[in-house]
């Protein structure tokens, strides 16, 4: 053993001297290894930090550590990253209270949040409908006016609303003119065009007061349909218990409005959705240009994205024009003329000129817009306090609609800008269940009442035919004919509920001032559901927050086991699986990094191998001499491997160290999130990478392996060198 050590000593000595003597080779080979070590440490640390921050985002925003759902579900649960695709086919968890009770028996479970994720189309307001409604109300008020004073004020009101409608019609007429310039004349409906011409004529408005209701009807039937500015919104929402949601996801914070009170119906918009989809587009684009300029340091002159937004703002002033009644039009004209120093009278042209911004005037115009123009505009299509009518296809295919008051907007701290974390809005569980097609106690009672009143009674599947067609003798009929009516006759209870829903509620703002509408709104706002009903009902899934997140695997198994014990078939998935595509994303990045590292090390292997082969060939005489004077082959092998390992250790170590330093420096400064999606992955505006010890160890092992592997072939060559080659002369 001592002898072995002393040989090693000699070998190492020669190896070190050789490395020092052939400095250039050492530096080249070392440089590559250095870079490899650096990449492994920096890349892996970055990735680990990304996973950590992303997991914070996913866990903290909606997924929790573990998601639990019914094991009998056909599809797997995905709480994030889904777009407009249909809901996954999940079997329901019938009684959330029971599920919670079962889950809380698992020691590592801290809290359980009931959930159901779905999406629905929402129609948001149509400006002309609103204007017509206001005019109709004004006309009615004028008729109902009792005093001169009232009549005078109502008259002024009517005049103003009329002016607004004329403004809208003018915009439509202009649209029509533009359309006829680009479209085939046949493509434009002649009747539509004639209707607009009539509505824009002075006679029409002069005669309006002779028969205001006929004129209104004309506008409603012929004109309103042409002003298709109502947008269909697709909203993804999580039905949940607000109190327990807020407690478990403590990064959630209310931005505008208030939290939904316990037991009440309510809707909270994700702030991101609210800004992105509900804000007046011109204003939204103004915000984005400002952000691009101030936060990302971009300029309109250079950034094509900002240029696009400026162009869109110039081209799309119609959205604003439609909101302007006579007073506002005059007001805008005056303000814009003064601001732009222009003599132009057309507000549309003035607005277009106003939105034609550049880097010099942008910030001034931004302030002007929000100070002077925005107060006269509806900046959001849905205001806090509005009642939102959400229509959804229930699981059985019927359209169900629910009125939910909007209480406010919320965001997750650190994920303010994230499209992904901000894509889910929140809704109370009762409304969610109704939209999904589950029944609330209230609905069940209502149905029972109705069934009683019409004398309906439960029909079992077996007796369905008999009930429908009367008793039949013999069972000779074809089986196909047997089953079809049976299905129709005895649908699942949920189907009954869906078909008997009293009157699908109208779209937002459409409720009118009718008594029914008022009552529905009132109900939506004031009704308080008993906690028991909220708790004991159906949910689709549940988010589980853990006390010790490191034990996620064991806890998942424990949850499923506990479920079985309690007669619940539960499936537990971790946050990464629950995050669906986003969870996969991290795996993709990891694969890409590993492939990159692999390629770099393969290249390194080839280069190092080459360099060592060259070096070995140059040293044939020296090696031959060593062999001649009595060095065994093993000595030569050890010498070369030690040379490689020394280079690997020193340079790989240096690379890892520099990588670690870079990571820690970058960790202090942080990597800024360039776009919304990175906010999600970075779990905030900046990613602060940290160094994992395992990464440094991994880097070291990889580097040593690569150095060892790359020295095998040259070592093999060296071992073949015979002592005779020491004698050969070069001449």
């Amino acid at each position: 053993m001592r002898a072995w050590f002393s040989t090693l000593g000699v070998v190492a000595q020669i190896a070190f001297r050789n490395l020092f003597a052939s400095r250039l080779k050492t530096v080249i080979v070392g440089g590559i290894i250095f870079f490899g070590g650096l990449l492994v440490v920096a890349g892996n640390s970055l990735l680990d930090s990304l996973v950590a921050s992303m997991s914070r985002s996913v866990i903290g925003s909606v997924a929790g550590h573990i998601q639990v759902y019914n094991a009998k579900s056909k599809d797997s649960l995905e709480v994030m990253g889904r777009m407009m695709m249909g809901d996954p086919d999940l079997a329901q968890l019938d009684d959330f209270a029971k599920v919670r009770e079962s889950l809380l028996k698992v020691p590592n479970v801290k809290s359980v949040v009931p959930m159901g994720i779905s999406g629905a189309l929402v129609t948001s307001g149509n400006t002309i409908d609103l204007a017509l409604e206001k005019l109709r109300n004004a006309v009615k008020a004028r008729q109902a006016a009792k005093t001169d004073q009232e009549r005078l004020s109502a008259d002024a009101h009517v005049t103003s609303e009329k002016a607004h409608l004329r403004q809208i019609v003018a915009v439509l007429q202009n649209d029509l003119k533009n359309a006829s310039a680009v479209l085939d004349a046949k493509a434009i409906d002649k009747d539509d065009a004639a209707a607009v011409v009539r509505a824009a004529s002075d006679e029409f408005w002069r005669d309006f007061d002779k028969d205001p209701f006929a004129a209104l009807e004309f506008l409603e039937n012929r004109i309103a349909s042409q002003a298709a500015d109502a947008d269909l919104l697709f909203l993804n929402y999580v039905g949940t218990d607000f109190t327990s949601f807020q407690k478990s996801f403590d990064r959630m914070k209310i931005v505008d409005g208030t939290m939904v009170p316990p037991g009440k119906r309510g809707f909270l918009f994700a702030k991101h959705v609210y800004e992105e989809q509900l804000k007046l587009k011109a204003a939204r684009r103004f915000d984005q240009i400002r952000e691009g300029k101030l936060q990302q340091g971009e300029t309109i002159a250079k950034d094509p994205d900002l240029q696009r937004m400026v162009r869109e703002n110039v081209a799309q002033v119609r959205e604003i024009l439609l909101q302007l009644d006579a007073d506002k039009t005059a007001d805008f004209r005056r303000k814009l003329q003064r601001e732009l120093g222009s003599q132009e009278n057309d507000v549309g042209k003035l607005l277009a000129a106003f939105f034609q911004t550049d880097d010099a005037n942008f910030l001034g115009r931004y302030d002007f817009f929000y100070k002077e123009l925005a107060p006269s505009l509806e900046l959001y299509r849905v205001r806090i306090g509005d009642v939102l009518t959400i229509k959804a296809f229930t699981r059985s295919g019927y359209v169900q609609s629910v009125n939910v008051p909007v209480y406010g907007t919320f965001e997750f701290q650190g994920l303010e800008k994230s499209t992904l974390a901000g894509a889910l809005n929140l809704m109370d569980l009762v409304s969610f269940r109704e939209l999904y097609g589950f029944m609330s106690g209230e609905k069940l009672a209502e149905i029972e009442e109705m069934q009683k009143s019409v004398g309906a009674h439960d029909v079992s599947r077996e007796n369905a035919e008999a009930e429908l067609f009367g008793p039949r003798s013999g069972a000779a009929a074809a089986p196909a004919a047997d089953t079809a009516p049976a299905k129709k006759a005895a649908p699942a209870p949920r189907h009954v509920e869906a078909t008997t829903t009293p009157g699908v509620a109208p779209v937002l703002h459409d409720l009118g001032e009718s008594l029914g509408g008022k009552l529905q709104r009132e109900e939506a706002r004031s009704r308080v559901f008993p906690p028991d009903e909220v708790e004991r009902g159906v949910v689709l899934n549940a988010a589980v927050i853990l006390k010790d997140p490191r034990q996620i695997r064991q806890t998942m198994a424990a949850i499923e086991a506990q479920g079985k014990k309690d007669g619940l078939e539960l499936k537990a998935i971790d946050w990464q699986t629950a995050a669906g595509l986003i969870g996969q994303f991290i795996n993709v990045i990891r694969v890409v990094l590993y492939v990159a590292i692999l390629i770099i090390f393969l290249i390194a292997l080839v280069i190092i191998n080459n360099a060592l082969v060259m070096a070995t060939l140059e040293r044939v005489r020296e090696i031959g001499t060593l062999r001649a004077i009595g060095a065994q082959r093993r000595f030569i092998l050890t010498m070369l491997v030690i040379e490689s390992l020394v280079v690997g250790t020193i340079f790989g170590g240096l690379g890892a160290a520099v990588g670690a330093i870079i990571v820690s420096v970058v960790g202090k400064v942080g990597i800024p999130a360039k776009s919304d999606i990175w906010f999600f992955f970075f779990s905030g505006p900046r990613l602060h990478p940290f160094i994992g010890t395992s990464n440094i160890i991994a880097a070291f092992i990889i580097v040593l392996l690569v150095s060892a592997f790359s020295s095998f072939y040259p070592a093999w060559i060296a071992m073949r060198v015979t002592p005779r080659q020491a004698m050969q002369e070069d001449e």
Binding site: I629, G630, Q632, T722, M727, E729
Partner: protein, 239 residues
């Protein structure tokens, strides 16, 4: 006197592609301990091949080569290497010093491979030998900083440091000018006398042969004769 090297009918063929090229065609030779023997002959006569066989660098195709009582054909690669390390010293035509090591380290190298002496013993022996070859001040120098003659002195010191029975030198003066060459041979001769080390060297230089006890002449891979340096010189002059 006892033969330290005994070569019997040694044949060595080298394979060049598919052709077998004979390098030695049956040489028989005895070398006694303390000899100072020159192997002479023109290029391609088999001098180097014979030295390689004696030096255990190669084994004969047929015939036997016994070095220090061991038949080299019966030895494994490892054993041959070990035999080289312990009984033979080499001096090369191009000195073959390890360029990255200092003079001292080059001389010390065989002792390190032997792993028999302590660091102090090694240092003593290396210093003594460098003294003998007149290079005691150059221990810290790199080979590249020395002249050809100095380098060959280092090589001689390295060959002798393990106190081998035999020192083999293949054309040791071929890369040196005549005065330096003569000095080197004088040094070898002196060491031969004082240390009783057997020297076998190849040469085709008459002047070099004159230093030897005897000259073995080879031609076309065959033993021609064994003559005294004087005879060799006389014949060389005649040719």
């Amino acid at each position: 006197m006892k033969a330290i090297v005994s070569v019997r009918d040694a044949v060595k063929n080298y394979r060049l592609g598919t052709v077998e090229v004979p390098a030695l065609r049956g040489v028989t030779l005895d070398v006694v301990e303390g000899d100072f023997l020159a192997i002479a002959g023109p290029s391609g006569s088999g001098k180097t091949t014979l030295l390689n066989l004696i030096g255990c660098v190669d084994t004969p195709t047929s015939g036997t080569v016994e070095v220090a009582g061991k038949n080299t054909r019966e030895l494994s690669e490892r054993e041959l290497t070990s035999l080289r390390l312990h009984t033979i010293g080499f001096i090369f035509q191009s000195f073959n010093l390890v360029s990255v090591l200092t003079v001292f380290q080059n001389v010390e190298l065989p002792l390190l491979l032997q792993r028999e002496l302590t660091g102090r013993e090694r240092a003593q022996r290396v210093t003594a030998l460098l003294d003998r070859v007149g290079l005691h001040e150059y221990g810290g120098h790199r080979p590249s900083e020395l002249s050809g003659g100095q380098r060959q002195r280092v090589a001689i010191a390295r060959a002798l440091v393990t106190r081998p029975h035999i020192v083999l030198a293949d054309e040791p003066t071929a890369n040196l000018d005549s005065v330096t060459g003569a000095n080197i041979l004088d040094l070898m001769r002196e060491l031969n006398r004082t240390e009783r080390t057997t020297f076998i060297f190849s040469t085709h230089d008459q002047k070099v042969m004159s230093h030897a006890n005897a000259v073995v002449r080879l031609a076309d891979g065959k033993f021609v004769d064994r003559v005294s340096p004087a005879e060799a010189a006389a014949e060389g002059a005649r040719v």
